[in-house]
């Protein structure tokens, strides 16, 4: 790995140059923390009875979990200077695939395996065309964006599939490991989907920052030629990030369907933009070579807070759009590498 360090300083978490960068990173993350805290405080002032409550925090984290899981995978994809525009469509296709497997009869396990398996398959198609077929990620995943949405609509003749039977049709207290449990069940007062999201975040952090694979990912995005010379398996690294993305899309599909109690062919519309947005405001460079899981996590929280706050304040759509855009722009300005507090 010393070779990588000398060839691509951007990729190495150690060394003098990297230390400065690491410091810059920390600063950016603090800046986003300020945005998150600020949004929470504003919410608490404007809606003192309903916003700063544990119930609402739980609600926001649950809502954040679907896009959050996508954003973790997207961080790896973008770190290799790639992009995945297909995640929203693949999410819908995965849910529908799992759905038809268990309609009219089946178990939660079959649904989960079906959804995750199908998303992984579509992710693998992306991976093959990008890493070995040398198709530009933007185009390959744009094609998949269309293909997967088409498949989602084809699977059940454009109709949603109800999944309530997987929970015995009951509400309130779903059985452990039933599908609804993944959406609304709790352990120690914390929703299962939040555990899944936090678990994947922790896993993603370890993978990116504490393993050789994580260094490969950043090295490939930083300078592909240099990484290749340094002995990084470039193609295999690129291949695996899109497969990983597929697996995570499948998990996100399960979390969404669990909460919705059904699989819908029109779900996941434009989720890719939320996921990419969260990654980018979190400080990961669209040019690749620089990635931050903590930043992505904070980016996801920022979006969840904005959405929750604005719906709770019952702002009109047009005002919401202006405010959301302004907050995102402000957050990005505040945490760009050049910004020093």
């Amino acid at each position: 790995m010393t070779a990588v360090e000398s060839e691509t300083p951007a990729a190495a978490p150690e060394g003098t140059g990297a230390q400065r960068r690491f410091g810059g990173f920390a600063l950016q993350e603090y800046a986003l923390v300020i945005v998150v805290v600020l949004l929470f405080v504003v919410g608490a002032i404007l809606k003192p009875d309903s916003f700063p409550t544990w119930d609402n925090v739980r609600n926001m984290l649950t809502q954040a979990s679907v896009v959050g899981v996508l954003a973790m995978g997207m961080t790896f994809v973008i770190a290799t200077s790639g992009i995945d525009l297909s995640v929203g469509s693949v999410l819908a296709a995965a849910g529908m695939f799992g759905g038809i497997l268990v309609d009219p009869e089946g178990s939660t396990l079959v649904f989960v395996l079906g959804a995750v398996g199908f998303a992984t398959l579509l992710g693998t198609v992306n991976a093959i065309s990008i890493s070995y077929g040398r198709v530009v990620p933007f185009i390959a995943t744009l094609a998949m964006f269309s293909i997967a949405r088409g498949i989602a609509l084809l699977l059940n003749d454009k109709l949603p599939v109800s999944l309530l039977d997987l929970n015995g049709g009951s509400f309130g207290d779903p059985a452990v490991f039933s599908l609804l449990w993944f959406g609304t069940g709790r352990i120690l007062g914390i929703p299962i989907s939040v555990f899944v999201f936090l678990g994947i975040t922790a896993g993603a952090w370890l993978l990116l920052n504490r393993t050789r694979y994580g260094r490969f990912v950043v090295a490939v995005g930083g300078n592909r030629q240099a990484a290749k010379i340094a002995g990084v398996p470039v193609r295999r690294t690129i291949f695996t990030v899109y497969v990983l993305m597929g697996v995570l899309v499948g998990i996100a599909a399960v979390l969404l369907c669990a909460r919705l109690g059904s699989a819908s062919p029109v779900s996941g519309n434009l989720y890719e933009l939320d996921a990419i947005g969260a990654v980018v405001i979190g400080g990961t460079s669209l040019a690749g070579g620089r990635a931050s899981i903590v930043g992505t996590f904070l980016g996801v929280l920022t979006f969840a807070l904005i959405f929750s706050l604005m719906t709770q304040l019952d702002l009109s759509t047009e005002v919401q759009q202006v405010v959301k855009g302004a907050i995102v722009l402000g957050a990005v300005l505040l945490q760009r590498p050049e910004a020093r507090l």
């Binding site: 809606k47 009875d49 309903s50 916003f51 409550t53 119930d55 609402n56 609600n59 649950t62 809502q63 695939f97 038809i100 199908f118 398959l121 579509l122 693998t124 198609v125 093959i128 065309s129 070995y132 077929g133 040398r134 269309s146 293909i147 949405r149 088409g150 498949i151 609509l153 084809l154 699977l155 003749d157 454009k158 109709l159 949603p160 109800s162 509400f171 309130g172 959406g183 609304t184 969404l256 909460r259 919705l260 109690g261 059904s262 819908s264 062919p265 029109v266 779900s267 996941g268 519309n269 959405f307 929750s308 719906t311 709770q312 304040l313 019952d314 009109s316 759509t317 047009e318």
Partner: protein, 349 residues
């Protein structure tokens, strides 16, 4: 190198084919609607294959990727299938541009009648006029053309009346006392604005002293997962909700799920719009889903029937003399537990 690429392309194709085969792919005609291209759909039965059929009807609709639009094309096809003397073709177009091009082509085929649900009424008016000028009668469905000479006959639902019916129902059920949430459709389109305007204005008439307060009004984009998320947040903000007026039965399923997940289904009731099978089943069951207001995609079946009558030179028997009216407005009937039995056969899914 090129051999390698060929190999990869083949592997990718096989994987995709596996995926498609695993879908049970019984239906292979309409998935490409997103691809930015136009797709063609033939009505399947050999009975309508032409040798018996003296009239040709072509229908042109937007991509059917939403429950209601899907039902529109199904209803049109089923209506056409009933007749041996109708040769029917359904065309889906991804956007206004390709729909206009499609209709241009159809004009040169000289069908006996053309049924059009335009993506955008304004944008497709010129090409509809062109069809009319070429002697092809145009039946305009749901979204209006902007000129009267663009269609021979028009059939449409009444979005404003939907809002009015909803306000009448909710006002009465609440005895003009309570907190109401409105989950709207897609912001900025006339369907949503009319459904909202009718509701607000009629609510003032039904409950002139106020009493019914609209505590939240947010768009759910006609989409169940957006409906779910928006309702989750509104439930956080409001500790008392008495009724929810949603703009669409499909989207309402997400709203219903949010309310159930929060365990608050006994606190409020909900209404939908459209008349889907799911909604009607839940209305019959009783409980949270109390009513829906018909915006029935069976209007597409009526449109095909009207097109056939016009093409054959016939008319509605009940009219004197029998003719096809210039405009038919489908009433926005209120479907509740009491009368759901009368409407279930017209439910769409």
């Amino acid at each position: 190198m090129s051999l390698q690429r060929l190999l990869i392309a083949m592997v990718a194709a096989v994987l995709l084919a596996l995926g498609a085969a695993a879908c049970g792919g019984d239906d292979d005609d309409d998935g490409g609607a997103d691809a930015g291209e136009t797709t063609t759909k033939e009505s399947g039965t050999p009975a309508s294959g032409g040798d018996k059929g003296p009239v040709t009807i072509v229908a042109s609709v937007p991509p059917t990727d939403h429950g209601w639009l899907g039902a529109i094309s199904k209803n049109a096809e089923e209506a056409a299938d009933q007749y041996d003397d109708v040769d029917f073709r359904l065309l889906e177009a991804a956007d206004s541009d390709s729909q206009a091009q499609q209709i241009e082509q159809v004009i040169s085929d000289k069908p006996d009648a053309l049924v059009v649900l335009p993506q955008d009424g304004e944008a497709l008016t010129p090409v509809a006029q062109k069809a009319e000028n070429a002697g092809i009668p145009v039946i305009n469905v749901d979204r209006l053309f902007s000129a009267p000479d663009a269609a021979t006959a028009t059939i449409l639902g009444d979005n404003y009346q939907i809002g009015v019916s909803a306000a009448d129902y909710i006002g009465e059920e609440l005895n003009c006392e309570g907190k109401v949430v409105e989950i709207q459709g897609l912001a900025g389109i006339s369907v949503t604005e009319e459904r909202s305007k009718g509701f607000t204005e009629e609510l003032k008439k039904v409950c002139p002293d106020g009493g019914v307060e609209i505590v939240a009004r947010q768009p759910g984009d006609f989409n169940p997962d957006t409906g779910l998320k928006v309702m989750e947040n509104i439930l956080q903000a409001q500790d008392q909700i008495d009724a929810v007026y949603t703009h669409d039965d499909d989207m309402a399923q997400g709203v219903v799920q949010a309310i159930r997940n929060a365990g608050r289904e006994d606190e409020m009731f909900l209404t939908g719009v459209g008349g889907s099978e799911d909604a009607m089943a839940q209305i019959e069951e009783g409980g949270l889903y109390r009513a829906t207001f018909l915006y029935n995609p069976s209007m597409a079946a009526s449109a095909v029937n009207m097109a056939r009558l016009i093409a054959l030179g016939e008319g509605f028997e009940e009219l004197v003399p029998p003719e096809v009216p210039r405009q038919v407005v489908v009433p926005a009937a209120t479907v509740t537990k009491e009368n759901v039995g009368d409407y279930q056969e017209y439910a769409f899914n």
